[in-house]
């Protein structure tokens, strides 16, 4: 899925973020670098439909996300977007398999199909799906989070500092997992870690793309 943002404005707190133009071709693997507070996470929220711009257009694939109502953006996100957070954000009461199967269920897949897909992804990552996520190491948890983001076969995969809290070995494992499982999805990964940036052929700098102004 290609990503196209034009003239988008969104207010967060007492500031307004401007995204004049930002394009990511379909199937690209793009690293978004930049200082803390430069608007990287807010930009991912715009792409995922978690935030709606006050002005401008946000397009993902054939969908103009900025024109959708909240319910339709929820449905779009369930269907088309996978999200990996910095601190895993796994649901603590569920097993690894249940965490991974959840987005597929939310996207409307039958529970058995969702479970099968979850098991397949976890096996590819060498993880035991029956274990509670509280029993997993940090690296394992983040790999479960990667599997969860890819469970519903999204066209757009967003990863917000997914390796920030991991040591180099686990960082590489998580990146390997992301690259091997993405299967043609467009990947936009936020990171200010040079070692992570070095794994990407293409890189965008938040300072060039985004601009904050007081409201």
């Amino acid at each position: 899925m290609r990503v196209r943002v034009e003239g988008a404005e969104v207010v967060r707190g007492s500031r307004r973020l401007f995204v004049d133009r930002w394009n990511v071709p379909a199937g690209a693997r793009r690293c978004l670098a930049g200082e803390s507070g430069s608007g990287k996470t807010t930009a991912l929220h715009l792409l995922s439909g978690l935030l709606a711009p006050e002005r401008g257009r946000v397009e993902v694939g054939d969908v103009c996300v900025s024109a959708l109502g909240e319910g339709d953006r929820d449905a779009f996100r369930a269907r088309s977007v996978g999200y990996v957070f910095q601190d895993f954000n796994l649901l603590p009461g569920l097993s690894a398999q249940e965490n991974v199967a959840l987005p597929s269920s939310l996207a409307g897949q039958a529970p058995a199909v969702a479970r099968r897909r979850a098991t397949e992804l976890l096996e590819r990552l060498g993880l035991d799906g029956s274990r509670s996520v509280t029993q997993l190491s940090r690296g394992e948890r983040q790999r479960v989070a990667v599997a969860r983001a890819l469970a519903a076969r999204p066209g757009l995969l967003l990863a917000d500092e997914p390796t920030a809290s991991l040591d180099p070995v686990r960082r590489d494992q998580v990146l390997d997992a992301l690259f091997s499982l993405a299967e043609g999805a467009t990947l936009v990964l936020v990171s200010h870690d040079p070692a992570v940036q070095a794994r990407f052929d293409e890189r965008d700098d938040a300072a060039d793309l985004f601009r904050w102004e007081p409201t």
């Binding site: 929220h45 649901l91 959840l102 519903a152």
Partner: protein
């Protein structure tokens, strides 16, 4: 993983808190249900008096109705048996039945009367035959037969009960019949012949000293104006009291109604406090789980789904509480049955009470709505801000 599965897991994680909330709801519901069951039982007991009129010794008409028609109080005094002939001779009387109360068997009153008690006016036989007037034979009411597992040919020792001390030797009486259920006080009594009653050794001495006496006469006047004529004639008597069942029961219901409303109000208040607790707890839970709920939104759950999740949790807590409350209310009545029996002479019967079920449904609906209001912030959750929460 369905909504149900997520609710189940969320409640499992909060099981102590959820259980405490459900128990609070159960306690409030249980109190209300117990009172409703008791009220329904009392209403059923007082709904149908055995006779429209009762005549007895001078005293309170209400007490006479309670003791002689409902058997929930002790007889106040006695009248000579000769009064019966007078009442039967009155032109407005259709039927008159003599009644002499005194003994009790396992808390159930023993009523001495004539065999015509089973002629259909007051009660009918379900099985067996009626007692012979002078024989040591007894006919038992339907509730007594059921509670004490009595049937014809059984023998009972009528010296037991409240007046046990008055009898030196056990008196074995033969059960000869069981009455069909009437839904009234007759079901909870045992009936023997008047002559047999007077023939009991202790009673014989009293009869020899004071003559044959009754505790009351049940009266059915002829139709039309005869009810007024009969009561008018009897009200002029200094040696008798006539009580109209409907008038006295109406007075009793008015008094009971006030107390009943007060107690129900207090129980309802405790239920309200419990539901308020559920609402406050769900509000706090929704606040403390903002990040988790935001995460669900971020991975594709709609806000109605997430709100539904919180609502379903609340509904589940209230449903468990209401169901436990229904059971608790009935258990309270059952456990308190012995105490009631000792205090007011009868054991409340547990039966289907649709008001209790309505209360349980109302608890679930009200609790869920209260939880819905308290957790409404979930609906408008600022997902990016909640995801940023540390």
């Amino acid at each position: 993983m369905t909504l149900y599965g997520l609710v189940r897991r969320a409640l499992r994680r909060r099981r102590r808190e959820g259980l405490a909330l459900a128990l609070g709801v159960a306690l409030g519901t249980g109190l209300v249900v117990a009172l409703l069951v008791l009220r329904a039982d009392l209403e059923q007991r007082t709904a149908r008096a055995v006779a429209p009129l009762v005549v007895g010794a001078p005293g309170s008409p209400l007490q006479m109705v309670l003791s002689e028609l409902l058997f929930v109080d002790e007889p106040a005094g006695r009248i000579p048996r000769t009064v019966l002939a007078e009442l039967r001779a009155h032109p407005s009387t259709r039927v008159a039945l003599p009644v002499a109360r005194g003994d009790a068997f396992h808390g159930y009153p023993v009523v001495a009367t004539e065999p015509s008690v089973t002629d259909g006016t007051w009660a009918s036989l379900r099985e067996g035959r009626v007692f012979a007037p002078a024989a040591r034979e007894v006919v038992v009411g339907a509730a007594v037969a059921r509670a004490l597992d009595l049937r014809p040919d059984d023998r009972v020792e009528l010296g037991h009960g409240r007046e046990e001390a008055a009898h030196a030797e056990p008196e074995l009486w033969l059960v000869v019949g069981v009455l069909a259920p009437t839904g009234g006080a007759v079901d909870r009594a045992l009936f023997i012949g008047l002559e047999a009653f007077y023939g009991v050794p202790d009673h014989r001495a009293v009869v020899a000293r004071e003559g044959e006496s009754l505790t009351a006469v049940w009266l059915v006047p002829k139709a039309g104006m005869h009810h007024a004529l009969l009561t008018g004639a009897l009200r002029g008597r200094q040696d008798l009291t006539v009580a109209e069942a409907e008038v006295e029961l109406g007075r009793l219901r008015r008094v009971m109604g006030r107390v009943d409303r007060l107690v129900l109000g207090l129980a309802g208040l405790s239920l309200l406090v419990a539901l308020l607790g559920v609402a406050v707890s769900q509000h706090q839970a929704a606040r403390s789980r903002r990040r988790e709920l935001a995460l669900l939104r971020a991975i594709g759950a709609g806000r109605r789904f997430v709100y539904g999740l919180v609502l379903a949790e609340t509904a589940w807590i209230c449903a468990v509480g209401a169901t436990l409350g229904l059971a608790l209310g009935h258990a309270l009545v059952w456990i308190g049955g012995t105490w009631f029996e000792a205090q007011i002479g009868f054991r409340p019967e547990l039966g289907w009470n649709h008001e209790s079920v309505l209360v349980a449904v109302a608890v679930i609906v009200t609790g869920t709505l209260a939880g819905a209001l308290a957790a409404r912030g979930v609906y408008g959750l600022d997902v990016p801000a909640a995801l940023d929460d540390a």
